[in-house]
Assembly symmetry: C2
Homo-oligomer: 281 residues x 2
């Protein structure tokens, strides 16, 4: 996601952001990250729904979905494979932290190259570590994909090894919540578990899809408290987000994990959904 990407700021190309925008001043906004495949934004409706819901929770007037869709389509018209990022901020104004009475939100859509993750990561799994940087608890912000991401930046700064693909973040009570850029799931005796994200963490779009798919496959799914110990004793672990899809975990810290049948089944089910979205089905 570097500076070379194309973007539309409130529908216009090429201009800079008003330096007084509350997105910069306070991180007062939300974002979405979508896969673009053959000029289609995948799972667009789900991302838009989450963005709109997030705007309601922060009392930011939600931008017209049709305008966002139009601007998105304009930006990705010639994109074979890429990442579309949507940012909505509360715009300028207000007095200090106090929001303006009638906010005029800022829309920023930017298109980024598809990351060069190897297909091997999906097939053979990834290596993961635990991060030291904790996630602060805040039920009012929990689940939201908001712009206050300094904790994730610090967590992602903890390692530089190219063969460690993700870091898991814990809350102050030592419960595992999520990866720096992904949600985490594990299987134990055939049942599926994922950390609850009602106190902190992001409620990922693929996370929601996996929960639905798993239930359709008659799996038991629980959103629950997850200790590092429980995770290390899991039968299978995997990570999800809109760009990586499902990555099995082959190593967490010093522990090695098998690439099991349960994860494979979910990968296949998710692949089917993906193909529908990508226009194959």
């Amino acid at each position: 996601m570097t500076g070379s990407a194309d973007f539309l700021l409130n529908g216009k190309r090429g201009s800079g952001l008003d330096v007084h925008d509350r997105g910069l001043q306070y991180g007062d906004g939300l974002f979405e990250t979508l896969e673009v495949y053959q000029s289609r934004p995948l799972f667009w409706d789900l991302h838009l729904q989450r963005l709109t819901k997030g705007c309601h929770r922060l009392a930011i007037p939600a931008p017209d979905p049709l305008v966002l869709r139009q601007e998105g389509d304009q930006l990705i018209r010639q994109c074979t494979h890429g990442v579309l990022k949507l940012i909505v901020t509360r715009g300028c104004g207000g007095r200090g932290y106090r929001p303006p009475e009638k906010p005029e939100p800022t829309r920023l859509l930017s298109l980024h190259p598809w990351p060069d993750y190897s297909e091997q990561l999906t097939q053979n799994g990834v290596r993961v570590r635990f991060c030291q940087t904790p996630l602060g608890l805040n039920p009012q912000l929990a689940g939201l994909k908001h712009l206050n991401r300094l904790e994730h930046v610090l967590a992602r700064s903890e390692w530089w090894q190219a063969d460690i693909h993700e870091g898991l973040m814990l809350n102050g009570q030592g419960e595992v919540i999520e990866g720096t850029m992904s949600n985490v799931f594990y299987f134990s005796n055939g049942d599926l578990f994922t950390p609850a994200v009602d106190q902190c963490g992001v409620k990922g779009i693929v996370r929601d899809l996996i929960i639905t798919l798993a239930r359709q496959l008659s799996l038991s799914v629980s959103e629950t408290s997850v200790s590092p110990e429980r995770l290390l004793h899991a039968d299978e672990i995997f990570l999800t987000n809109s760009v990586i899809g499902i990555w099995p975990v082959r190593q967490l810290g010093d522990h090695r994990f098998i690439l099991g049948e349960n994860t494979r089944r979910l990968q296949a089910a998710y692949q089917q959904l993906w193909q529908q979205q990508a226009g194959y089905a």
Copy 2:
């Protein structure tokens, strides 16, 4: 702090911020807010020291203080009384949350009108409430004046009454930490207390000055855990920041407080410091 203010972005007037700046994307940066009086930025050295220290903690290369001073001087040359805000971000680049190996920080200095707070607030005290929005715990970010301020925005959104001047924020454990834009102190039996800010909260410049001044006046000062009950049973309460100086609290929730001698003494001592900075002494 509205859009009408004058600013310098990396030394230049009038341009917009690169939309890929990590300050917008992640709140990956820090800020300072200073009083400007007769073209002097007050307590400049202390603000610069905190900013530099904050940059070290976040591994952002600290901008050259001389450049910041030069740009500040340029901006405030004709300012009789105003507020100078400095923002430093990690700049653009990196891969997702992961910072670039050699960050090129962004400097944003902006000048804002002096807020129209009545002198009555300093003399007769302010009315304060408790906020519902909690502060998330994060020792790695505690004390820093960083750009992740969504919690403060939500807390400041909880009330609209013009005669409530500040709201106090608690952490998830129910301990009082700070005001939305200020630090809080109280006197009990002649001793001075203020919440510790090693788990969350901002280590304010005026907070530090008050602690030093109080010790010079041979007062006992403790940075400690503060429950709402302790605060409600205090003899005197006051708030501090670089713009308001010291505001005595005359009402917290339904409890009324006297404007006591101890607070007056600190106001007088701080006023002396202020006059030195403003060039009177």
